[in-house]
Point group: C2
Chain length 235, copies 2
DNA sequence: CGCGAGATTGAACCCTGTCAATCCGAGTGG
DNA sequence: CCACTCGGATTGACAGGGTTCAATCTCGCG
């Protein structure tokens, strides 16, 4: 468990105090760990699988505001109520900590707090990058950059077993083929589009020979430079 | 200077070590402090004025990914290169720290680091809230929520002197009138729209009696509940 | 007065959303 | 084995919200 996650590069003492309050938990695909608006009871460390972080308008429009991959931190310390809903896109495994004890552990272990600060800063950069995409990219650019992003994150995945990261390999060259952990509807919610537009752009990219869509949710990138060109912009 | 900013609620020792490395700096309206892509040389604490945080696509489309108000933290510790450009929307005053020494100070003063962590977590929530707005709100909803947001932030502003926060008054009831620190073009860049759409939505809200636009950039909120209704969603 | 930046307004276009029909693959039960 | 169903994906037709292009207006300032 001492991988590149939050637990990674902690002292033995720190690891021990985390283990003392942490509990292993499995999430089935579709299951929700945290509901927006409810009391934020837990933080966690994602061990395997992919989670979505989402927000919704009063009338039901949904926006996925973040995707969480293995080793990512889950939850929001220091907030009484959760701002966003956390749901499993694939079956997932977590190391869950009750929020209060976790906060206490943070305060007692400077190193852990420092690690979380760096991660949070990185997450903030990521979120802001997504804002450029949502606000200023066309549908084609959105879909193209989404596919490239996803390919990078599912790097070491064996096509078929979604999203498990081989420990040790930090950032492997993303392979040509992978399995999307999201439905078209969820992709639409990530990109701020509709199902239909996502579908159309995908088939357009396929017709243009940049990608292939052999079955259901599997994707094959045939022409990465070309795809990057379609992604334009800075993302 | 011991206000609600990063410097606020620090011990004397911590304050002293910040003062040792910090330097006061003024920024004229339109001046840029940090360029995206360049080496990130400084962090800072915003004393007065309003700054924008922006990203741009290769072909020049711009998206404002954050607005910074007095007492906000500026910059990105632990990153070699800046991801976003920081520019003054109004004349502004900052307390600037060279990044490296600032990082060192962070490591030596747990309390400061903890404060920055909380702020960063809050900024992350804010950014994600904006993602919902960019991805899922209509033009009218975007403009309405922008005006409400701005009214809240410019709370204690005397119409005409943009964005200076009266110390002590934490979150005053937002007044009916304020002066926008942004041009229509910049508002468009915040909301992911065009100048023309922003303009049209503003005059629509005026025609409907929800707001008034007496002069250039001044705004008067005539019917806050009505405006909130137009803002819909969760923002 | 005239200039220029910013703002408003108008008209035409088109990308994307909406509505609806169809298709596909997996699982189920007759 | 096949029909049926059901969720997800694709495709088509159409309408509309927002962009684009362009003209006009306002206001501060030299």
């Amino acid at each position: 468990m001492r991988d590149q996650s939050l637990c990674g590069s902690l002292s033995d003492a720190e690891l021990a105090s985390l283990n003392a309050i942490g509990r292993h938990r499995s999430l089935a695909r579709g299951q929700t760990l945290i509901w927006a608006g409810e009391e934020a009871l837990v933080c966690a460390n994602l061990l395997s699988g992919v989670l979505k972080l989402s927000a919704a308008t009063a009338d039901g429009r949904e926006q996925i505001v973040g995707l969480l991959y293995p080793a990512d931190f889950v939850g929001r310390p220091y907030a009484e109520d959760a701002e966003h809903t956390v749901t499993a896109l694939t079956d997932a495994e977590l190391c869950v900590f009750p929020r209060r004890p976790f906060e206490a552990a943070l305060e007692n272990h400077v190193h852990m707090e420092r690690l979380l600060l760096r991660r949070t800063l990185a997450a903030l950069d990521d979120a802001r990058g997504r804002m450029l995409m949502l606000g200023r990219k066309t549908a084609e650019e959105k879909v193209a950059s989404f596919l490239l992003d996803m390919g990078a994150h599912l790097g070491a995945a064996h096509p078929g077993g979604a999203g498990r990261c081989a420990p040790g390999k930090a950032a492997p060259a993303s392979p040509a083929a992978f399995e999307l952990p999201l439905t078209r509807a969820q992709i639409a919610d990530v990109l701020g589009l509709t199902i239909e537009t996502v579908s159309r752009q995908m088939t357009k990219l396929r017709r243009d020979g940049l990608i292939d869509l052999p079955a259901g949710r599997s994707v094959l990138i045939r022409n990465r430079p070309g795809l990057q060109e379609r992604a334009e912009a800075g993302g």
